[in-house]
Structures are given as C-alpha cells and as structure tokens.
Symmetry: C2
Subunit: 336 residues, 2 copies
DNA sequence: TGTCCTTGACAATACGAATTAGCACATACG
DNA sequence: CGTATGTGCTAATTCGTATTGTCAAGGACA
C-alpha cells in the first residue's frame, strides 16, 4: 500500500510550511493567506491527490465527524428504514455512520466502544436505552428514538395514538371480540402502542380477556405461532391487532394456512406500514409510522446538537395514521 | 461533557509514567512489567474507568480497527442480511463498521471518505465496484462481493447456476413460453443470473423472444409494472423468472391484482430467498442465495487480510439451490 | 570489588493535523 | 527618520497513545 500523502508533503511541494497548508485546506476563515500562496498550495494538493487524515484531525479537535446508530435488528425493515434515512442525512452533512446491532441486549456495550472512538454523537433506537447507566449517555451527544422521555433529547412517534387508532378502527367495524398480539420485549414504543390500544378498547366498553392477549417476538415466525394459538380458542376473536407489521404478516400467514378467510372471518391489523405491508395478499391494514422521517429527524437533531446550536428540545411526537387496506372488514354477522 | 480520562491520568494515580500504562493496557507481550506494577495500573484504570482513545491509537498505528461496507441499498432485505452478518463478524473481532449506502452510483465517493478515515478495509457490494479507479482500491484492503473477478479478493455466489436452476425448474414443469424480468442496472451478479437463465433455456431449445424480456429496477413497484406489461401481451407467458425476489413479489402482486391465478395460470420464480418469500401467498418459489453467509465470509476474509495472513484468494462461489414453494406448477394444458 | 546480566521502568519521540503566538517585512504616518 | 499598523507566514506546541532506546538498580559471578 502506497504511503499516505501528508500535509507536509504538500507543504514541501508548494514551498511553504505545514501549518500554512493546514490553514488553507481546513478553510479557517480567520486565516490571512495571500491568494498566490493559496493557489500554489491548492495546486500542490491536487497534484499529490492529497486528502487529509481525519484521524489526526480528530485527535486534535476531539471530534471524529462520525455518528453511531444503535438498533436492535437491522434486518427488521422498520429499522432498516430508520438507519437508511439517518445515514443519508449524516453523510450529506459530512458524518460517517457506525452501525451497531444490539439485538435485545443493552446498548451499553456499544456505547462503550463508541466512546473509545471519540464519536460525536449517537442515535439510540434500542431496547432499554433509557435504563442505561446515565454516565454512559452523558458523555456524548445522544438522541433517543422512541424511548421513555427523559433527560435526553429524543424523537418519537405517537405510539399511544397508534394503538388507539387501531382499536377505534376495529370497533368502528363492529368488532367486539378483539385480540392483541403484543410484544414479548419491553420496548417503550411497543408498550405505548399497547396502552393506547387498551385505552381505545376500554373507552368503548370493550375488554381484553386474558386469552386474547398473546405475546410474540418481533418476527413473522413468532407472529404466526401467536395467531395459531388464537385460532385454536373455542371462542375465536373476530379481529386481531398486532403490535407491528412483521408480526401481523406472520399472523396473516397463519390464517391463510388454516384456511381462515381474511378479512371476512377475521380482521388483522399491524402497525408500522413497512413496504411489505402492501405486498402481501390481502394487503395489510395498518397504522402508518414514519420510520424514515424518524431516522432523518434524529440525525438532524443530533447534528444540530453537535454543532452547538443551543440544545434543542425533543420535538413533539410524529403523527401516525390509519392506512386502511384489505385485511380488515366489518365483523362477521354473529358468530356465537 | 466530562473531560476524558487519559492514560496519563491513570499513570498519575498509579504513580508510574504514561508509557508504562500503555505497555500494560495495550498488552504488548514483549513488555517486561512487574506483576505488582501491572496490578496497580489495572486497579487505577478500573478506578478511573479508563478507556483508551482509539483515535490516538489509530494515529500512531495507522489503523482504525474499523471497516467500511458499501452496498447499494440496505432497505433491500438481501443487502440488509449481508450487512447484518458482516457487522456481527466484525464487531466480534473488535472492528467497528462504517455503513455506506451508495445507491446506484459509484462507490468512489465513499471510498474517498473512508480513506480519509484510515479505514482498515472495505467490503464492497455495490454496482460498478470493479470499474472504480484501481488506485482507490489499491490503497486499502478490499473484499468485493459478487463482482467481476479481478485483481481483488472477493466472495461471490454462483449466480450463473442460479439462473440455470430457474430455467431448468420451469422447463421441467413443461413450460415453453417463459419470460424474464431482468435487471435494469448493470450489476455483475444480475448479469450472471441472466446469462445462466439464458443458457438454461437454450440448452433445452427454448428461446426468449424479445417481448418476453422486460427490465425492471430492483423494487417491488417496478416488478409489478413489468409484470403488468407481460400480462398485456397477446401471447402471455406461462412462466416468469424474475432476477430477484423483490421484483418477483411485485410481479406476483400484479397477477393477484389482475386476477391471474398463480401458479395455475402463470408460474413465477424469484431469486435470493429473502425472508419475505415465505410470507407472501402463495409462497414464492425461488433460488436460495446465502446472503448472510456472503456477508460473514466477506468480513472474515477481509479481517484475515488485514491481520496479515498471507493474502488469501477468493474462495469458490457459494452454492445456490432451488427452493420449491407455491408459485410454480406444471404448465397449463395448452393455452394457444 | 568490579564486571556482566537481567529486570523494570522511564525519557524521548513519532503519528499528522490544528492552533496560538509571534516574527519579519512592508507600508503609512507624523 | 522613527514609530505605528498590518500582512503573510512560520516556530512551537498540542492532542493521547505507542514504541524505541536507555538507564538505574540489583543480583550473580569471577
């Protein structure tokens, strides 16, 4: 591998000192450099194809121009969307993005690793982010996604409304026997969706008997298993709300396999509106949650905080909306 | 933000010099340090919660313990899988992963940025990686995924066989009028799939008339549009092979919308075997391509190269296999 | 007692850029 | 002619760690 071209090499070629090169190329506005010298340096840099060593710059400035992003599972389309949007914003602003996939374990390990790398900030959309030792969070810029509101700025979706909208939609279709496939893990947004759903039901005098509450991990496989157990109940629900789309699609799959007609025999709703929701048959009725927007906002908020703009508060939760498609319909006639 | 704890702070507390701390904590095996001093330093480090500044270490070692990974689009489940597996391998080996989404444009821009960061190596699974100015590739460790074989080590899938398997499967079911929804972009793996498919057809005396060759971008939306145009032909194909699953799922969607029965009226095949392939109805018949394995191998190969093991050659292509599911069936009786 | 090892630590320096203070030189002014 | 005022650049230093060479102390040995 060819040895790196350094600012000193450029200086030598241009017949100036290294600091002068640095002054010209790092665009320090207070620098007083003659047009002629500047031109000579720029040409030398061009000629040698010089590019600055960001590691050296990071060391002296204590900044890495890099962000971390911690998500539970990158293969979940929702998070892929968050990350993708965040990456776009970050990279346009000149920041690199370090990807961390925490699974369902605590992001603490990754926070430690990111700190060693003198990261400028970190976006955390991972289970249990708000339970992390606050020392870890206080020593860098942090933006939390969909976490319990706390001392740190965050962006969130209106998860409680998401649950409420789902409940209202199913109720408005005349359903009474409504089940919920909820989260197996203790993620804040999931908890809020659950709460909103529960409130929506009880506001309309509908209860959620314990056999109608099933928990599943956020995968299609687990969603399918959960739905199977619901289908085996003596008194089947006529509608099911799943805490996210991936689970809902698994649930839909279970119904298809069991030859239970969706939506005529049973209505299914998800939450997220991942792209896939439109690709299954029938298309999934769901609550749209703007994942991309979430990632982009988090990145913008973080970058503003890094670049010194007075610590901006978390903005209000992003609105969610009902997307009515083909998996919900009016409750079957009477199916005692 | 609290000031960083440095090795010097640890040294002060332990009553030794900074280099001694460095010798102990960076585990240089040639160092001769008394057990007692070592213990004192370790305790001081613990007490101050010291963690080394990797930026400083990178500067002196000219290594960042970080890898880049460049993919076209990580919202595509195939690439999400590649990235996720690569990240797991890298992070277990102590490397951070810088994520780069290049779209369909050249990875050159990202290569430049990664070089400035003194990256240890980069995995490239992006369109046109092998056309990049070789200077850019030569100045760091590179592993290419699914690219034209060349001067750089790479990992690949047996894309030509993938196409051939698809052709054989459809032919074995008695199909004669077989269409292909091919790639709109010039990615090497896609080209090989196309070639294999074409060879498979012609080996069996079947030709691919130009109206049966449609091109689409690698999204479901475009796949749907492509299939719509096929459905409007006077002489419809009885089977369609799509260059990847995402397109195939869009194509399936188009058939469902047009009330064309799959697989009885038309068979559809994809390629990749993304998780989603099992979640659509009917389940997608496809060619399984081990995306996760691809990412993991690339990461391992790269890390070995970085850590000095004699430059290992690219391994042979990963095998692919037919996964028969519900979207293919014997050709309809005779549908002149 | 003096020489030779060995052990254990440290001083000095490098890595590549950024930054601060200050030095020459030129120009302007009284 | 001597003093102020800029201008344009450089010398010196810093960031935090790694690494090389060196040096002092202590023991072994003749």
């Amino acid at each position: 591998m060819a040895p790196r071209v350094t600012a000193r090499d450029v200086a030598r070629l241009a017949g100036v000192s290294q600091p002068t090169v640095s002054l010209v190329l790092s665009k320090n506005p207070t620098a007083r450099i003659s047009a002629e010298t500047r031109a000579r340096i720029l040409q030398a840099a061009e000629e040698l194809r010089y590019s600055p060593n960001l590691v050296a710059r990071s060391l002296v400035r204590s900044r890495s121009y890099a962000l971390g992003i911690i998500v539970p599972d990158f293969r979940n389309p929702f998070f892929a969307d968050v990350v993708s949007s965040a990456e776009r914003v970050a990279s346009q602003a000149g920041y690199a993005v370090l990807l961390c996939e925490a699974g369902e374990s605590s992001p603490a390990r990754y926070l430690e690793a990111l700190h060693e790398r003198v990261i400028d900030g970190v976006i955390i959309d991972a289970v249990g982010a708000s339970e992390v030792d606050s020392e870890l969070l206080d020593r860098t810029n942090v933006v939390l996604i969909d976490q319990l509101p706390g001392r740190w700025p965050g962006v969130a979706t209106d998860a409680e409304s998401a649950g409420a909208l789902a409940a209202e939609h199913l109720i408005s279709l005349g359903h009474k026997r409504i089940a919920f496939i909820g989260p197996a893990i203790d993620a804040h947004a999931f908890r809020m969706r659950e709460r909103g759903f529960w409130k929506g039901l009880s506001a309309n005098g509908i209860s959620l008997p314990s056999e109608y509450l099933v928990r599943a991990n956020a995968t299609a496989i687990d969603g399918r298993a959960a739905m199977r157990s619901l289908l085996m109940l003596e008194s089947r629900p006529t509608a099911v709300f799943c805490v996210n789309d991936v689970i809902a699609i698994g649930a839909l799959k279970a119904c298809v396999a069991a030859k239970v007609k969706v939506p005529s025999e049973i209505s299914i709703m998800g939450c997220d509106d991942i792209e896939l929701a439109q690709l299954v048959t029938p298309e999934l009725t769901t609550i749209r949650v703007p994942a991309g927007e979430l990632g982009a906002r988090a990145a913008r908020l973080l970058i503003r905080a890094i670049e010194g703009e007075k610590e901006r508060k978390s903005s209000r939760p992003l609105p969610v909306s009902l997307v009515k498609r083909g998996t919900t319909a009016t409750a079957p006639e009477e199916s005692q």
